[in-house]
Amino acid sequence: MKSAVITFPGSNCDRDMHVALNKFGFKNQMVWHNDNELPKSDLVVLPGGFSYGDYLRCGSMASKSKIMQSVIKFAKSGGLVMGICNGFQILVESGLVPGVLLRNKYLEFICKNVFVKIDNKDNPYFKNLDKEVFEFHIAHNEGNYFCTNDQLKEIEDNNQVAIYYCNDNGKTEEKFNPNGSLKNIAGIFNKKKNVLGMMPHPERMIDKSLSGEDGSLFFKNLINNIK
């Protein structure tokens, strides 16, 4: 399986994602933001970081990069595109998934483990996962998901919420929401569910010496689903 990770100026989780994808069997290529064409890929990843320093708005300048034309085309043709953290911000800025990401409710950067609930499994990312509550890691300043009421209705009607913040029992109450996100939303799909944007970093949880191993479950399952 081939994957591609895009490096924007200011990306800083591109290497981590490259390491994780290769570890679980992808043949990954790094792609420069100024390139025109995506290499042939089964999965394209927009990694975390501070593309263009997060100046103007997080993800907004990166969404206008040259390579994004190809990424958008790839997504529209049904290709799998995953945006993590800053990658999620780039996805919302380029209109591939609905909504916006505001500054965290308490106005502070948060780096810690959180529990998330994944019960939306009719999609290539989460199909066949055999549990619902995962311990993932977040590290962001602007992960406070927001959208209009109309958008929210559409998102919910289409079952587009991918991941919720919750506690270790899967309860999605406000008090388990680290950043003020609407409805505890931590990740979201496009309508066709081939594009996934999420704040947590599964690539930081790929062996037991790190923050945990739930990221491994995610990646192993993902490559099996794509095969």
């Binding site: 200011g10 981590d16 501070f50 502070e108 950067f109 780096c111």
Partner: protein
């Protein structure tokens, strides 16, 4: 402008220094030249008050590849790998403008590290604030934490450990010390020594603006009521540009184009160009019209003294300009050939085709002033005599509550949660432990780092305090299973012109030197920050020690959380019951006098090395060193982290309970052992003449102190974990 003595004094130079400049030049310097002298001769760049004493520190060893004198120190971690590291202060700017001051401190130290060809792999910091009751403290703390996070997070370098303290003596002068570790291949280290004639001198990175002009001079003066006027001397950081600069430099360094490279830190273009030429025993000429400027009509004086951030100066091989330019273009960074190396041994500056300055480089470097300042010895204070009666009314539970929720002991999670500590995917020990640990990417090795200071001990008796900080740092590395290799130091003191402050400096350095020598723990880099004072009042002497150690097999790393019920906890090292200068003495007895705990270097070394033997044989389940707050604080933290309790034994020693629990005797650790291995462990301890005692047995949920005193882990947590968050919100 015609230069005269008064203008020189306004530049922070002394009368006699100005005279020396005129004598060396055999003429009066022009305004630009005076600016250059003032930048090179201030305390921050010249180390004029400290050089004499720093020479006494041990700086070499089998593992030392590069000691002090370069952008950072370098140590060997085997297999062709090396670690580049350094700590640096950014105290004055952080007090004036906490966000930018702290941010550019972090940016500056990372630049020092990647200038040498190393990719930064970990950041640490040591930050010190005034009393938690002081009106400025909260805002300063918030600003500094946001600044450190803002810069480090954007760079994608994990912040893995740190230290935060609160003390009245920092009310008017906070301390912000930032440390970075980088990883490099031993045969790809870059230095700042220029070589070869007529080689192109390249400017890369951000444009030069008017920010930070005379920043280094500001850092060399005391604060007074006019500090607000100094805001324009604080630099403004742009971590995004620094991230691009890092990637571009490392890309260029992969080839063979670079002869020498130096970042533009304190005193900007002035010190970087002069240092490269000086080390290569060469001259340098620069055409200042070629320097990329952010603002129009900048004068040669402003261009030379600007401390705009994210800039580098490189001496390239001839003919490599195009290759280099291509890389910097790719990363959208400025690139300009601004000069050449020469054989004149002068720095010559041209502007609008006129020569605007010409100074022999040796007058700026070798002939810079060096002072043997007057200093005063500190006598060892007399021990206080505590009678049993002093403690009779104390309830251990209440005392423990006060200590665990004291600002200097309370958990700093509110701070380090704002730092990205997991990016790069190799952080195997997060902040909050004895030391931060990152794997050496793609290998089985890991590097541990810790930063420590004990201003109270140093204030009470500088020699002992100096020794103690090094010893504590050593213990923190041992506690995670790392073999300590070397340190970097950031020496924060009051005015060297005050003989008490100077005495504190001299004797702390003496103590640091003695401990480093004994422990074979050399100093490979560092920085001195004097004039940390407001008006006449200096801070408590605060040397920060940043130590680095190696774990050969990262799977053997140790953490402090208690692991298993029924395991035995041992106290390693003898408890003598030293109460003076402990946190117990200060906050419970309100006793500020007396000597700090004695440091026995033989015991430190022997205890530490024996624990490493135990760890190597997989006999240690968890470990934690005993420091501030004594044994009971240490075990409480192990309980909190591991979510387990302990039933404490009665001490076999004859000292009373309070001394047993709260004394801060040095050279001690707590280690957790499986009962099946107890005999094996005690044999090794006995064979190595290490003193130990059985502290207790791990149980669920409670810490049982005696028949009458019992606390739940949740209680301990509520004391320790919530203080800072409640305080800040």
């Amino acid at each position: 402008m015609e230069v005269n003595e008064q203008i020189a004094i306004d530049h922070g130079l002394k009368k006699e220094e100005y005279k020396k400049i005129c004598d060396l030049l055999k003429r009066v310097p022009n305004f630009t030249e005076l600016g250059i002298f003032s930048a090179m001769w201030n305390e921050h760049c010249s180390y004029k008050s400290s050089r004499l004493h720093l020479k006494k520190l041990p700086t070499s060893g089998k593992k030392v590849i590069q000691g002090p004198g370069e952008n950072a120190g370098v140590i060997d971690i085997e297999d062709g790998d090396a670690i580049v590291f350094k700590i640096e202060s950014h105290n004055h700017p952080s007090f004036i403008e906490p966000y930018q001051g702290a941010a550019t401190g972090v940016g500056g130290i990372m630049r020092d590290v990647f200038t040498m060809g190393a990719r930064p792999i970990a950041n640490l910091n040591s930050i010190h604030f005034g009393s938690s009751q002081h009106k400025k403290t909260k805002n300063l703390l918030r600003g500094v934490v946001h600044g450190i996070g803002g810069y480090g997070n954007c760079m994608g370098v994990p912040t893995i450990a740190g230290q935060t303290s609160f003390d009245n003596s920092y009310n008017g002068n906070i301390l912000v010390n930032a440390m970075t570790l980088g990883l490099v291949k031993k045969n790809k280290i870059f230095y700042s020594k220029a070589a070869g004639l007529n080689k192109p001198v390249i400017y890369v990175g951000s444009k030069t603006g008017r920010d930070g002009i005379h920043g280094a001079s500001m850092a060399s003066a005391s604060f007074d009521e006019k500090i607000e006027e100094k805001k324009p001397t604080v630099q403004v950081g742009d971590p995004f540009t620094e991230k691009l600069l890092l990637e571009a430099c490392l890309e260029l360094m992969a080839g063979d184009s670079i002869i020498a490279i130096q970042d533009m830190g304190a005193a900007g273009l002035t010190s970087s160009s002069i240092e490269m030429a000086s080390k290569g025993n060469l001259g340098i000429k620069l055409n200042l019209n070629k320097v990329p400027c952010r603002e129009s009509k900048m004068t040669p004086y402003e261009i030379m003294l600007s401390e705009s951030q994210e800039r580098m100066l490189i001496v390239l091989e001839n003919g490599k300009e195009d290759i280099a330019k291509k890389i910097f273009d790719k990363w959208d960074l400025d690139f300009a050939v601004i000069g050449r190396t020469t054989n004149s041994k002068n720095i010559e500056l041209f502007y609008d085709e006129k020569k605007v300055a010409s100074i022999p480089i040796n007058t700026l470097v070798e002939n810079s002033p060096m002072y043997d300042r007057k200093w005063k010895k500190t006598k060892l204070p007399k021990k206080n005599k505590y009678k049993k009666g002093n403690f009779n009314n104390l309830k251990i539970k209440d005392v423990l509550k006060k200590i665990l929720s004291n600002p200097n002991i309370a958990s700093k999670e509110w701070i380090w949660q704002q730092y990205d500590h997991t990016v790069m995917g190799d952080t195997i020990q997060k902040p909050g432990g004895d030391a931060g640990v990152v794997r050496v990417h793609g290998t089985n090795k890991a590097v541990a780092a810790s930063v420590d200071s004990s201003a109270t001990y140093c204030w009470a008796h500088p020699i002992t305090g100096g020794k103690q900080v090094v010893a504590e740092n050593w213990r923190n590395l041992i506690s995670v299973g790392a073999k300590p290799i070397a340190i970097t130091n950031c020496l924060n003191f009051g005015s060297p012109e005050n003989e008490n402050n100077m005495g504190e400096f001299v004797e702390c350095v003496q103590g640091i030197g003695e401990a480093c020598k004994y422990l074979n723990f050399p100093v490979v880099s560092g920085n001195v920050s004097f004039y940390n004072q407001t008006k006449d009042i200096g801070i408590k002497p605060t040397p920060s020690i940043g130590g680095v150690g190696l774990i050969k097999d990262y799977k053997k790393m140790i953490t402090m959380q208690l692991k298993e019920i029924n395991n035995v906890v041992l106290i390693i090292g003898k408890t003598e019951g030293h109460i003076d200068q402990s946190i117990f003495a200060r906050i419970i007895l309100d006793e500020k006098n007396g000597p700090p705990p004695e440091v026995n270097l033989f015991n430190e070394k022997n205890n530490g090395e024996t624990i490493l033997k135990l760890i190597d044989q997989d006999l240690v389940k968890s470990a934690h060193d005993i420091s501030l707050g004594g044994m009971i604080t240490a075990i409480s933290k192990m309980c909190i982290k591991g979510n387990k309790g302990i039933r404490l034994n009665k001490s076999k020693n004859l000292i009373n309970q309070v001394e047993y629990f709260f004394s801060e005797d040095q050279g001690r650790y707590l280690i957790e052992i499986n009962p099946d291995n107890l005999k094996k462990v005690t044999k090794i301890l006995n064979d190595n003449s290490v003193h130990y005692e059985e502290l207790g047995i791990i149980i669920e949920n409670d810490i049982i102190i005696d028949e009458k005193t019992k606390l739940t882990i949740d209680e301990l947590k509520s004391y320790n974990t919530n203080w800072l968050e409640n305080y800040m919100n």
